[in-house]
Structures are given as C-alpha cells and as structure tokens.
C-alpha cells in the first residue's frame, strides 16, 4: 500500500443501468485538505460511500490509511471521523446520549473536547437531535467526528443548508482543528468560496468521472479570464480556452494554460475564483479539463 491517506483506483459504481461513478481514481496525501467538487448527481456521494466502506463498488478499490475500506471498515472507522451529508443520528436521541453511545465504541474518546466544541457551538447537550436546527445538527456531527481525534476527517457536503454564519463557523472549526493536529481532510462541497482558503488540492467530478485533480495553487495560476478589444484577436498563440464569448465589441476568453512569463496583448487579464473555474470546468460548456 502507498503512504496516501486516501487512494481510489478505477472505482466504478452502478445503480442498475445508470453509472454513478465511472472509473474514478484519486489520491490524497497525509495532512492534506482535499476538496471533491461536482454538481448535483456528479457521483460524489457514491464515491464517498465507497471510500468509507459503506458501499461496495462494482469495480475498483478504495483504501483509507493504507487499508482497503470495504474489508477493514470497522477498524478504519476508529481512525476516521465522518460528517455525513444528511445528519443521520436518531432524531429521538439526546445529544449527550449520542456522545455516551459514541464513547462506548471508540477506544480514544475525548469527552472534554466534545463538550468544549458543543459549548462553542452553543448546543445544549440535553437537546434531542431531531429538535436541533440543520446547522446545529451539522455542528453536533462535527463535534462527534472530531471527538475521537481522527487521523482522517471526511466531510460529505457539510455546509448543505447552512446559513453563512454557520458555514463560516464550521470551516473555522475544521481549520482550527487541522492547525492543531495536521489531520487529513477530505470534503465534498458546493460552497466553493468557503473552502477556497483552506484546501490544498481539488478534484472535480462530472458525469461520474474525475475531470480534474490538481493543487489549488496550480489550478488558480493557469486559469485566467482574458479580454481582447478586437472581435478576432490575432495573437492568441498556444492559448487553450475553456470558453470564448463576445465582450462588448471585443472578445472574452477563459484561458486554462495561462503563463505569466508570456504576457498577452490583451485589454484585461484577471484571475479567477475557484467557483468561476468550477463553472468553466463543469458548466454548460464543460470543456476546460
């Protein structure tokens, strides 16, 4: 086995005739913060379920911390913290009962850390899980996922349905914990602006395939929005474009291989946000891969 915290090789998941994940491969280095991005139905959740050993893929393998996720799920889960897409704790359970139950299952359980996080989130331990707001449920899930001090944290769309403040709080909590312990973090999210400042590497999925897997820094350095005054710019050179559209009387291009060492005779060259890059890669055109 490699030294990767996560390794997925040629993973395929099918539901009947529909292929949800089509030969996906990726790897996450220990200590990295890795974001898997994709539109709804791109196959992220299926891939995460296979990665957590909850679901067996039709083909390929998923390994965590050097062990096969399907066959070693039970022992691996003692080393992995998971925040699921949907808060799945029983609605009738009180928060302290969930914590007590979890404490029985994990050899390393830091009740003090759990309580401290819960108080930071202002969630009452006596509250029933089903009575909590969506944001509070996520916060409880995060506190539960971190209380056994996992080596790997997997967050499946953790900000889904959260307000801006809750989202910010969640990422700050994750970031703070990462800063403390250097835990590997794998997350899927639609909140690209939220993760842009914390991730080291991103992958993008479309139609079940990994269409992009790259360091965030490198990705952002090669994507540029370039505007030309002319309708038909002459000196495009070797530029690869994800999109070309008219811009006033001129032309706007999304360039995917921008090189700062080769200046362009353009009216405007502007960097792009992760969200803009994501749209360029997986949007309607979806050509910039």
């Amino acid at each position: 086995m490699s030294g990767d915290a996560i390794r997925i090789d040629n993973l395929t998941v099918r539901y009947g005739r529909r292929t949800a994940v089509d030969g996906a491969s990726l790897s996450v280095a220990p200590g990295a913060v890795y974001a898997l991005l994709g539109r709804n139905g791109a196959g992220k959740s299926s891939l995460v379920r296979c990665m957590l050993g909850e679901q067996k893929p039709q083909r390929g393998t998923a390994s965590l911390l050097g062990q096969d996720a399907w066959t070693h799920r039970t022992s691996l889960m003692a080393r992995v913290g998971v925040v699921s897409e949907e808060a799945d704790a029983p609605p009738s359970m009180r928060v302290d009962a969930i914590a007590r139950f979890s404490a029985w299952l994990y050899p390393r359980w830091n009740r003090a850390a759990f309580d401290e996080r819960l108080s930071r989130f202002s969630v009452a331990e006596s509250a029933r899980f089903g009575d909590l707001s969506k944001g509070q449920k996520k916060q409880v899930s995060v506190a539960l996922a971190l209380a056994h001090e996992p080596e790997l944290l997997v967050l499946d769309d953790p900000t889904l349905g959260l307000d801006v403040v809750a989202r910010k709080s969640l990422f700050e909590e994750v970031i703070a914990d990462l800063a403390d312990r250097g835990t590997t973090v794998f997350l899927t999210t639609h909140d690209l602006a939220g993760v842009e400042t914390i991730v080291d590497r991103v992958a993008m999925m479309a139609d079940g395939r990994i269409v992009l897997d790259e360091e965030l820094e490198s990705l952002k350095s090669r994507f540029r929005r370039v505007r030309f005054a002319a309708t038909r710019p002459a000196a495009v050179g070797n530029l690869a474009t994800a999109a070309v559209r008219s811009w006033g009387t001129g032309t706007e291009m999304i360039v995917t291989n921008y090189d700062p060492a080769s200046p362009l005779d353009a009216a405007e060259v502007s960097p792009m946000s992760l969200e803009e890059i994501f749209i360029a890669v997986t949007g309607e055109e979806g050509a910039a891969r």
Binding site: R49, L52, G53, E54, Q55, K56, R73, T74, S75, L76, M77, A78, V80, V82, S84, E86, D88, A89, P90, S92, M93, A97, F101, S102, W104, L105, Y106
Partner: protein
C-alpha cells in the same frame, strides 16, 4: 460483545416508550375486577385470563412492529450510516438490534402479565393445560419468530427491488419442495419424520433469518438493494439446503424396505402377507408375496389375493389423508390391484370416496370388486372402468369371483351368513343359499366352492357347487381344519392340547401335546397330511410351533422361536391349494421366514 451491548442499550433507550405502553396495557386487565358479576374467584380468574391475552396480543403486535422497523426503516430512510460510520461491524449492529428487540419483548410481556400471573397461578392452571413457565416460553419464542418474519418482509418490501419477484418464486419453490416432502410422509402416516422435518425447517428458518440479518448488514451495509440481495441469498440458501436435506431424509424414510423392519408383525390374508413395524425411525408397512419376497409399500386397509395378484384398499394420495389435515368429510381411499411377480406392478389404481368395506379379485387380476358405502362395484382392471354397480345391504363381507361375471358375496348378517351372487351382465343379485346360522361375523371361511361356517354348537361345511352339507358338532374351545384330503383336524384350544384326526366322522388319531401347552391351533397344512400347528402356554404369546404328521402323529419343530403369521378366522380353516407359503415370524432373529406349504422348507422371506 461490548459493541453489541452498546447498540442494544441504545436501541432500548430509543424505544423506551414501549414500556410506557406496556404499563398502560397492564392497567387494563385489573378493570375486570370491577365488574359486578361473578364471585371473587371468578373475577380473579377473569383478570388473569384478560391479562394473559392482552400480554400475548401486545407482545406479538410489538414483535411485528419491532421486526418491521429493526433495520428496514433506517435502511429505507438512509440512517444506517449512523452506525456504519462508527467502528462497529455489521454483525454487531444486527445482534445488538436483535438483542434489544428480544429484551423489549420480554420486559413488555413481563410488565403486562407478571403481576396477574403471579397472583393467579391457580386461575392460569384452569385456563391452560400447560404450565405457566412453558406458556411464557412459547409466547416469547413465537414473538421472536414474528420479529424475524417482520424483519424479512420489511427488508424485502422496503428495498423496492425487483429481487422481490425472485423471493416470491423462491418461496413458491420451497413450498413445493416442502409439500413434496411432507405429503408423502403424511400419506404413509410417518408423522415422526414429518415432525422432525418441520422442526428442521423451522430451525433453519430461524437460523437463516438470524444469520441472514447479520449477513445482510455485513454485505449490504447501507445499500437497501444489496442488503435485500444479501439477506435473500443467505435466507433462501439456508432454507433450500434444509429443504433438500428434509426432502432427502423423507425419501430415505419412505424407501425403507421390509427387511429393515425391526421386530415386525404380520398377518396373512390368502396368498399375501401384510407386515409392519418400525423402519428408519418410523412406522412402515408392506404387502408381500411370500413366494418371492416381492412387495409393495403401504399398509393396506383390506385386501384379497389370488396367486400373485393382490387387490387392496390403500390411503388415497390426497391432502385429505395426509396428517388428517382436513378432518371433515369422507376419507379417501384407492382400490389398487397389483401383481407381485418378479417386480411389483400396479395394474389398476382408482380412487374411491368413502370407507371401504370389502374387496375381491379374480384369478388373473382382470376384474376387481369393491364395496364402498354399500355400493358394490366391479371394475375392469385394464381399462379402470367400472362394469357394474349395485346397492347392497351389508357392510363387512367377503367377495369371491366365481367367474369373471359372477361375484359371490358372503355377508354375515343378523339372520346368519347370506350368500348372494351378483351378475355383472344383468346387474342382478340372486341368493345362493338361505341364510346360514353363524356364531359371529368372522366365523366363516371360503375356499373355492367350499364354505365353512361356524355357529354356536357346530361347524357346517357346505359345498356350494354340489349343494352338499356336512355338520360337525364342535365344543366351544374346539377348532376345525378341513384338510386337503377331506379329513378333519379338530384341535382343542384349551388344556389339554390335542388334535383329533377324523375321516368321515371316525377318529383316526389323537395327538397330544406336552403339559405346558394350554391349547393348540392348526395354522396350515403342509403337503398332504402334515399340519403346521402352534401351541401356546400360560402366556398367550408364549407359542411353540410344530409340524405334525396327521398319519403318524410324529412332530418336528421348525425354528423354535417362530410362529406363523395369523389369519382369520382362527378357529376354523380349510387347506387352500392356492396358498403356497405361510409367513413365519421369528422371535429369535426378529425377521420373517416363509415356509413352503408343499415341502415344509423354510427360508428367509427377504434375503
């Protein structure tokens, strides 16, 4: 184990409201106390009975609900990740949930029923023939069974998987195998093996449901369809194995041979022997041709034989006769005609409705007559069609084919033995003789045209062809055997044991047996003039068998611990030239021999 307990505890905590419901139900039964009717004891009894029935209904209802929500609900609501994202195995999740369900059922049942049951043990004994602890165990066992059934159906239905169709097919296939396994056993009245197979299937079902739950969560995890598939494969796989084992066991039981019978019993009817006993752990019966050992399975109700052909009534292969599942309505029987030559061959098998009374077959087996519910019917064996029927007044009778178209009926009635001929062509009955006085309904024997009838003081030997009648006065304890050459052997069935040989009424020889013999009975004639006899001691079954030379009085003994198979009547008999062998029960070996009635040679009936 600690994970199982942790999950069980969590599940119980989540469903603790069940105990509140149980307490509420427990408060219902004491209300019966407040009724203004009956005595103190009556009302106490009413409370106990109500409490027990409420407890049973509540526990079984709860069992179904728990079963339906044990895994299926979380699976369909995609909440099983709560467990699977934690370091617990699928098996631990299942056994934790199952343990919680069992604990919930037991505690709920105790809450609803404990106090009234403890307070009213006597009333419970009035209500139930089984002790309270056993009743509680049965109720809880049934509750666990219902929980498992609820879980199975919940998983199957909630998955909305097309595999459900395969489950349905598997269920039908299993039912077919089980029916094919149990019905033949029921028809053979092999109830103990049937019960064993049912126990095997129930045990396998429980094991399959319990193991299947663990397998389902280990292999299917949070995927409802995979979970369904894993459960179905495990469940049906184990059930199929059990069903195949049960089927093979039933075939093995039913394939028992007469040579395997332990300490068999036997009766001889004409030229065939009916033997029965225990083989392969169950009762088994056979109709055997003692000339060659050829047999057919199934203990017959009534039979008649001519040479190698036997006609008998056997249980109809219908559901009605299997285990007495349907107790109302007439029983169903089959008239069967079989040749017992080199290989057994069924010539005819016709189902009749109603209780069989009498049966007869002609020399070549081409015709059979049977009486069912006072209707005498003559069948053509080859075509299986009935040739003629007639209503008759008798119930028990002997039927004898005088010719293919004439059936002679010997029917003991209150007026005496009536002898009537039925003509198949004209469908008319005609009286052969006026009623002949008879001591009881079994005291007559017919061989060819010779009819021997015993009345209270004499035996009448009537030649129905010639119309001659001989009357021999006979004491109460005496019996009479008409020998091949016309001599009479009058045997004394009480002490002192003697046989008096007479020709035309004149004594030729008096044969005496030892003092220990408390009586003697002639069973058959061997060759010409040698009698196969049994003496019995003070214990009726302490028998000794001899071959006695009627001319010289010399006695030789077959194997000492052997006795001829009985035939009726026991007090009178005629040497039948068609009967070539007589079965001998060996008390020493527990087997059956056949004695050749021509030569006296003895050989094992089954090699």
């Amino acid at each position: 184990m600690s994970h199982v307990l942790a999950i069980a505890r969590r599940e119980i905590e989540e469903r603790a409201f069940v105990f509140v419901a149980a307490i509420a139900i427990a408060l219902v039964s004491p209300l019966a106390w407040l009724t203004p009717y009956g005595s103190f004891a009556d009302r106490k009894e009413a409370v106990v009975i109500l409490a027990f029935f409420l407890a049973v209904a509540f526990t079984w209802g709860l069992a179904l609900i728990l079963g339906a929500t044990l895994v299926g609900r979380e699976l369909s609501e995609k909440r099983l990740s709560f467990y699977f994202t934690r370091p617990v195995s699928g098996a631990a999740i299942w056994f934790g949930k199952l343990a919680a369900a069992i604990a919930l059922l037991a505690i709920s049942f105790a809450i609803v029923s404990a106090f009234p049951l403890m307070a009213g043990q006597r009333a419970f004994r009035v209500m139930s023939t089984i002790p309270a602890p056993s009743a509680v165990a049965y109720v809880l066992a049934a509750a666990v069974l219902l929980t498992l059934v609820g879980h199975l159906f919940s998983t199957w239905i909630r998955s909305r998987s097309p595999i459900l169709a395969l489950d349905f097919i598997a269920m039908l296939a299993i039912l077919a195998i089980v029916a094919g396994t149990l019905l033949p056993l029921g028809m053979a009245m092999a109830l103990i093996p049937a019960v064993r197979i049912v126990a095997l299937l129930v045990g396998a079902g429980v094991a399959a449901a319990i193991g299947g739950g663990a397998w389902q969560l280990s292999r299917g995890r949070i995927d409802a369809r995979r979970s369904h598939r894993a459960l179905s494969m495990f469940f049906w796989g184990l059930i199929v194995v059990a069903a195949i084992v049960g089927f093979a066991y039933s075939r093995w039981v039913l394939a028992a041979t007469p040579r395997e019978l332990a300490h068999p019993r036997a009766v001889q009817r004409g030229s065939v022997v009916h033997i029965w006993g225990t083989a392969r752990g169950t009762e088994a019966g056979f109709t055997v041709n003692p000339a060659n050992g050829v047999y057919v399975a199934d203990r017959s109700w009534e039979s008649a034989s001519r040479g190698n052909v036997v006609a008998d009534f056997v249980s109809s292969p219908s559901l009605q006769n299997a285990f007495g599942i349907i107790r109302n309505g007439p029983s169903r029987w089959v008239v069967r005609v079989t040749r017992l030559d080199q290989e057994p061959k069924t010539l005819m098998s016709v189902e009749v409705t109603g209780d069989p009374d009498a049966i007869g077959v002609n020399d070549d087996g081409s015709r059979v007559a049977a009486t069912v519910d006072h209707i005498l019917t003559v069948y053509d064996t080859a075509s299986r069609h009935d040739l003629a029927s007639v209503r008759v007044a008798f119930s028990r009778a002997a039927l004898q084919f005088v010719s293919p178209n004439i059936v002679r009926i010997f029917a003991p009635t209150g007026e005496g033995l009536r002898v009537t001929d039925f003509d198949v062509r004209t469908r008319k009955l005609s009286e052969v003789t006026p009623p002949i006085p008879i001591a009881n309904q079994y005291d007559y024997v017919v061989v060819g045209s010779t009819l021997m009838v015993r009345n209270t003081s004499a035996v009448e030997i009537r030649n129905l062809a010639a119309g001659t009648v001989d009357t021999i006065p006979l004491q109460k304890d005496d019996g009479l055997w008409l020998m091949r050459d016309g001599r009479w052997a009058i045997f004394h069935r009480a002490a002192p044991a003697t046989i008096e040989i007479r020709r035309s009424g004149t004594q030729q020889r008096l044969i005496r047996f030892g003092r220990d013999a408390q009586g003697v009975r002639v069973m058959a004639e061997i060759g010409r003039g040698k009698l196969l006899v049994s003496t019995y001691g003070r214990q009726r079954f302490d028998t000794t068998t001899y071959i006695v030379d009627a001319d010289s009085g010399a006695m030789s003994s077959p194997p000492p611990r052997a006795t001829p198979a009985l035939s009726w009547p026991t007090g009178i008999g005629i040497t039948d030239p068609d009967v070539k062998y007589r079965a001998l029960l060996r008390y020493d070996t527990g087997k059956i021999d056949a004695i050749d009635l021509q030569t006296g040679a003895i050989r094992p009936l089954f090699r």
